[in-house]
Amino acid sequence: MSNREALLRALREQALQIRRNTWRALRAAGSGHMGGSLSAADLLAALYFHYLNLRPDEPDWPERDRFVLSKGHANTALGAVLAQAGFVDDGFIDTFYAYESRFGMHPDIKVPGVEMCTGALGHGLSVGLGMALGSRLQGKNWRTVVMLGDGELQEGSNWEAAMAAAHLAPLRLTAMLDYNKVQQSGHVAEMLGLEPLADKWRAFGWSVRECDGHDMAEIVDALDALPAVPDKPTLLIAHTVKGKGASFAEDTYLWHNNLVADEVYEKAMTELGEPA
């Protein structure tokens, strides 16, 4: 097996584990945001176990790359990947929604590895822009990646940040869009359509690349090719499926955020190849 094949295999295994741990956290809480966590699992695996330069045993390492989960409601998946990477103990996953836990519905900056309190939608790109500026102003080489949700692109503040990032470039800044096409109350295209999305970002001065957000080879190739164009911030549009990996939850707003009874958990885990 080539090194590349070994890498892809390891990343796919981490992604599978993120999905399993996501359901584990959701069952512990009894409910939560499964749809947008499951769509982001492959992307998070590629970021945390391939692309981002991090030290889980030294989470505040000044030279680390920065990652901001702007779509903070996918915190279930973030908690899973932070545990898998070793920023927090494995038991952290079981504290989702628990009293006095640091693992609530949305990311908390006090958790090792979490860079900002996010989840109020439309905020993350501005914060990432500030981090990227901080890197450049201090003569550093670390990079910033912001994961955006598609629904949150309806928030105008994203477009303020997008315009400013292109204007203030060069910056080591990438926005990664988890484009799962579904938001809380329905399909994005029906709620407030984003298309032609790539054209909009190009018009705002960004370089745009697209990939299948569930094809690990495509994700890794897209990340390894960053920045897509020197001196421009990159938007990586990752086409994904809401609720990926749980057939009953895929491509439907009904599983954006829902209750998770034991039978739901068992069904999901069975589909992920691990009978509960």
Binding site: P62, G130, L137, G156
Partner: protein, 326 residues
């Protein structure tokens, strides 16, 4: 009331450059901090001249970032910068940099407890001719309601300079309320260091206490002089830190006088008067009168006439004191 004391040495250059305007003194102080500390960054929203940051731009253009007319983005960028160890000062118009970016301030600055200093110019009705869209009469209520936030209201350009310098010692977020283009009469000394969290007593008296901030400090001093002519001794406290509140000074004023009058260029809900009333209602119920902007939007006009029309003048403070004393 004595005129503000001058130091023995020559007048610092910033005094003349600030031209008795707190917004310019803030910008000059940020520039000075930026010369000493390369972590200091100014973030503007098409507001760099409003705040007087040309000197900083000339000195270190790379550390002056103006994101254009986009307050939400300015605040998010500042928070992001702060996480990397830099010390951002966000400079904006008070009505917009607070209300427009309130959610960013709450989440990324206050909740995330980032060391971001917000300089808010043109507060109150200092841009009164602009109309209600451009008045900032609720900003203290907004900022004061946020955990972790320090809230400062300098009384003049001198105090604005020292208050800005004092934020160097603040670990978390801070808000500094600044004036507009109307000159602010000096009421504090050029050379007095800012004692964060401590009120300063500008006049002694034991009949009534006037607790004022910002643009209403000078009228409070004038009111005390008028009251003295009428045989009433008014203590005047310059409450330039609204949060954390100088509880000791307020409780002492309540104990040692017959009542407390607050005075501010802010709505009567949620500002200095609210803060003092919240404290006294629980700790030492005290007769009070609140001087400030009533629950309505102001008409257009010159700032001094708008202040007078809505009850924010020395005469109104005198009347409130006399009413309180019966």
């Amino acid at each position: 009331m004595n005129a503000p004391q001058q130091g023995n040495g020559a007048e610092p250059a910033w005094v003349k450059a600030a031209a008795s305007q707190s917004r310019l003194a803030f910008g000059l102080a940020v520039t000075e901090l930026g010369r000493r500390d390369e972590r200091v960054v100014a973030v503007g929203a098409d507001t760099l001249d409003l705040i007087g940051l040309r000197g900083f731009i000339e000195h270190t253009p790379a550390r002056v970032i103006d994101v254009g007319i986009a307050e939400q983005n300015a605040m998010g960028v500042a928070a992001g910068l702060a996480t990397t160890g830099l010390r951002p000062f966000v400079c904006g118009y008070a009505p917009f940099i607070t209300a427009r970016s309130m959610e960013q301030i709450r989440n990324e600055v206050a909740y995330a407890d980032q060391r971001v200093v917000i300089g808010a110019a043109a507060s109150g009705v200092s841009l009164a001719v602009s109309g209600g869209t451009h008045h900032a009469l609720e900003d203290l209520a907004l900022m004061r309601s946020l955990p972790n936030m320090t809230v400062l209201v300098p009384a003049d350009a001198h105090e604005a300079w020292h208050a800005t310098q004092a934020t160097d010692e603040v670990d978390g977020p801070a808000y500094i309320r600044l004036g507009g283009r109307v000159p602010e009469p000096p009421v504090t000394p050029v050379d007095a260091p800012f004692n964060l969290g401590r009120a300063t007593c500008l006049a002694e008296g034991s009949d009534v206490a006037v607790i004022a901030c910002g643009a209403l400090v000078a009228p409070a001093v004038a009111a005390a002089e008028e009251l003295a002519r009428q045989g009433v001794g008014a203590r005047v406290l310059n409450m330039s830190t609204i949060k954390p509140l100088d509880e000791d000074a307020i409780l002492a004023a309540a104990e040692e006088t017959r009542g407390v009058v607050t005075a501010e260029e802010h709505h009567l809900t949620g500002g200095l008067g609210g803060a003092v009333a919240e404290l006294l209602a629980v700790r030492r119920p005290t007769p009070m009168r609140l001087v400030g902007m009533p629950d309505e939007f102001a008409v257009v006009g010159p700032t001094d006439r708008i202040r007078a029309r809505y009850g924010m003048s020395a005469r109104h403070i005198v009347d409130a004191c006399l009413d309180l004393l019966g």
